[in-house]
C-alpha cells in the first residue's frame, strides 16, 4: 500500500524515519528489541567496571572510571528514551530485563578479575562496540541514529582511556605487564564474539540490512575489528592470544581464529560465568530501592494534590 511505499522510499533515499512516521510493525518491533538490548547492555555493563571503582589504583584513574561508569548510565537513559519514541515505556523494558526476557550483550557475563580488565574492556570491548555502532549513526531510524552519534563520541573517549590504562601497565613493572597480558588473553575471544554468530548462522540480519538498520555483516565488522586491534596491540607491546593470527596479502586482511561460538551460545542462553550474578545484582538494587521509589511517588502525589489534603 501507499504507506509502505512511502516508507520504502524514505529508506531508499537514505532519509530518516521519525517517531510520528508510519512504519511496518516488524521494523518497530525489531528496533525496540535492538535499542532495548543496547540500553540494557549499558546498564548491566556498569557492573563489571563498577567492580573496580572502590579499588582504582590512583585517584585520577578512580575519577576517570567513575565518570565512565556514569556515562554508561547516561547512555542507558538516553537509549531507553529513544526506545520510548517507538511507543514502549522504560519501565516495561526494565521489567523485561529483570525478568530475563530481553538480553544484554553477553560480554558483560565475564568477570573483571584484575585492574587490567578495566583497561581491556575499554580497549577491546568498547573498541568492538564502536565498530558495531559507528554504522548505526547512519541507521534509518532518526532518534536511534542521533543517540548513536552522541554515544559513539563518548565511547571513543572511553576506548582511548582503556588503551591508556593498558599502555601504562604494559610499560610498567613486570607484574603490571603480566596483568595486562593476562587481561588481553581473557578478553580477546569474548570480544570477537561480540559481533555475533558467523554470517551463515545469523538471523535477523538480511531484513536489518534492507531497512538500513544494520549496514555490514557480523563477519565484516569482526574483520574490521581484528585488523584494527593488531596494529594497536603492537604499539601496546602486548600479544593477541591467537597463534594463527597473520596478515593475508591476498585478502588484504588478517587471518584469525574464530571465537568459540558454542561458548557464545551457552553464555547467551544464560550459562556464562556471571549471568546469574549480574541479574542478582540488578534485582537486588531494584528491590532494595523499592521503598525509596515509593516514597518519591508518595511525596510527588502529595505535592500535586495539595488541596486534597486540605479538603480531607
Amino acid at each position: 500500500d501507499e504507506l509502505l511505499r512511502y516508507f520504502d522510499a524514505v529508506i531508499e533515499a537514505d532519509q530518516k524515519i521519525e517517531p510520528r512516521d508510519w512504519m511496518p510493525d516488524a521494523y518497530r518491533q525489531g528496533l525496540i528489541r535492538q535499542i532495548a538490548q543496547h540500553a540494557h547492555s549499558e546498564i548491566i555493563g556498569m557492573q563489571p567496571e563498577g567492580n573496580w571503582i572502590s579499588r582504582a589504583p590512583s585517584l585520577k584513574r578512580k575519577a576517570i572510571l567513575l565518570a565512565k561508569v556514569q556515562d554508561e548510565a547516561g547512555h542507558g537513559l538516553y537509549l531507553y528514551a529513544a526506545a520510548e519514541t517507538l511507543g514502549v515505556s522504560r519501565d516495561a523494558l526494565v521489567e523485561l530485563l529483570l525478568a530475563g526476557r530481553q538480553k544484554y550483550s553477553s560480554i558483560f557475563n565475564y568477570p573483571t578479575l584484575t585492574w587490567a580488565d578495566v583497561g581491556a574492556i575499554g580497549w577491546l570491548v568498547d573498541g568492538a562496540a564502536i565498530v558495531n555502532q559507528v554504522p548505526l549513526c547512519r541507521c534509518s531510524y532518526g532518534p536511534y541514529a542521533r543517540a548513536m552519534i552522541r554515544i559513539c563520541k563518548e565511547e571513543s573517549f572511553h576506548q582511548r582511556q582503556g588503551y591508556e590504562i593498558l599502555h601504562t601497565l604494559a610499560h610498567g613493572t613486570p607484574g603490571q605487564k603480566a596483568m595486562a597480558q593476562d587481561a588481553v588473553n581473557r578478553w580477546w575471544y569474548p570480544s570477537l564474539a561480540m559481533f555475533g554468530p558467523p554470517d551463515a548462522d545469523s538471523t535477523h540480519s538480511q531484513q536489518s540490512m534492507t531497512w538500513k538498520i544494520k549496514r555490514f555483516s557480523n563477519d565484516e565488522l569482526r574483520q574490521r575489528f581484528v585488523d584494527m586491534c593488531v596494529q594497536q596491540a603492537s604499539v601496546l607491546g602486548l600479544d593477541i592470544p591467537d597463534p594463527d593470527l597473520r596478515w593475508n596479502e591476498q585478502r588484504q586482511a588478517h587471518d584469525y581464529t574464530q571465537p568459540d561460538y558454542t561458548e557464545l551460545m551457552r553464555v547467551i542462553k544464560g550459562d556464562g560465568p556471571c549471568n546469574r550474578q549480574r541479574a542478582a545484582h540488578r534485582h537486588a538494587a531494584h528491590a532494595d530501592g523499592a521503598w525509596v521509589r515509593e516514597a518519591a511517588a508518595a511525596y510527588a502525589a502529595k505535592r500535586n494534590a495539595p488541596t486534597t489534603k486540605a479538603a480531607a
Partner: protein, 234 residues
C-alpha cells in the same frame, strides 16, 4: 598565608572518604537517575579531595603527592571526621550523611573562599558551588523520604537519629559555623516532618586519627591494589 598540613588533610580526607562511600552506590541506587547523580557528587568530592591532598603534600614538602597521601596512610593517619566514614548501605543513612556533610562543607568552603590562604581560597570557591548542589540533592531526598510513606519516614528518622551525634565533631574547629548550619538543617528536617534529635552524645577523634572500626576496612579495599605494587605508576 598557608594552612597547616593537618587542616588540609582533614578537609581532603572528608571529601575523599565521602567519595569512596558514594562510589559504592553507583550501580546500586534506587533509580538510574540516582546512579548518575550520586556518581556526579562522588566525582565532585573526589575532585576537591585531589586538589586538597596535592596542596597538603606541597605544604608538607616531603615529596608526597595526592596518591601517596591517599593510598599510603593508615586509618590512624587519616584526618576525616567520623561522620563521613560511617557505613551507609541504607539509602536513608547515605542521604542523612550527605545532607549534614554538604551543608557543613558549603559553609566552610564559603568562608575559606575569602580566607587568607589564596590557594585554598581558589579551591574553596570552586567547591562551594558544588556543595550547594550536593546539599540541594540531599535536601530533596530528605523531603521525599521524610514526607513520603510511613516506611520511608520511619527509616529517614532512624537515619537522622543514628547519624546526628557525629555532626558535632564537624564544628570542633569552627564552632561559630554551627548556628547557621543548624538553622539550615533544622529547616530541612522540619519541612520533611522529621524530628531534630537532641544533642547529647558527641563522638570525636577523627581529626586525631582515632576513627571507628569501619575506616580501616574502607581503606583496606581502597588501597589494596596500589599497595600491592609498590612504586608502580598507573
Amino acid at each position: 598565608m598557608t594552612t597547616s598540613v593537618d587542616r588540609l588533610l582533614a578537609l581532603g580526607d572528608d571529601a575523599l572518604v565521602t567519595a569512596q562511600r558514594l562510589g559504592h552506590w553507583c550501580t546500586r541506587s534506587p533509580e538510574m537517575e540516582e546512579d548518575v547523580a550520586l556518581a556526579n557528587i562522588a566525582l565532585d568530592q573526589l575532585g576537591v579531595a585531589r586538589l586538597l591532598l596535592s596542596y597538603a603534600g606541597e605544604v608538607e614538602g616531603a615529596g608526597r603527592d595526592e596518591d601517596a597521601l591517599a593510598y599510603l596512610r593508615t586509618d590512624r593517619e587519616y584526618r576525616n571526621a567520623l561522620l563521613v566514614e560511617l557505613p551507609d548501605r541504607d539509602f536513608a543513612v547515605m542521604i542523612a550523611k550527605l545532607l549534614f556533610v554538604s551543608a557543613y562543607q558549603r559553609l566552610l568552603y564559603r568562608r575559606l573562599a575569602t580566607g587568607a590562604d589564596e590557594r585554598l581560597a581558589g579551591i574553596a570557591a570552586k567547591a562551594v558551588k558544588e556543595s550547594a548542589y550536593h546539599e540541594d540533592h540531599a535536601t530533596l531526598w530528605t523531603l521525599r523520604l521524610g514526607d513520603g510513606t510511613d516506611e520511608s519516614h520511619r527509616r529517614m528518622q532512624a537515619a537522622v537519629d543514628e547519624v546526628w551525634p557525629y555532626t558535632h565533631e564537624l564544628f570542633e574547629e569552627e564552632p561559630d559555623l554551627r548556628a547557621e548550619w543548624l538553622s539550615t538543617v533544622e529547616g530541612v528536617l522540619t519541612r520533611a516532618t522529621l524530628v531534630r534529635p537532641a544533642d547529647s552524645w558527641a563522638p570525636t577523634g577523627g581529626r586525631d586519627g582515632r576513627h571507628t572500626e569501619q575506616l580501616s576496612y574502607l581503606l583496606a579495599e581502597m588501597q589494596v591494589l596500589h599497595r600491592a605494587h609498590p612504586g608502580a605508576r598507573w
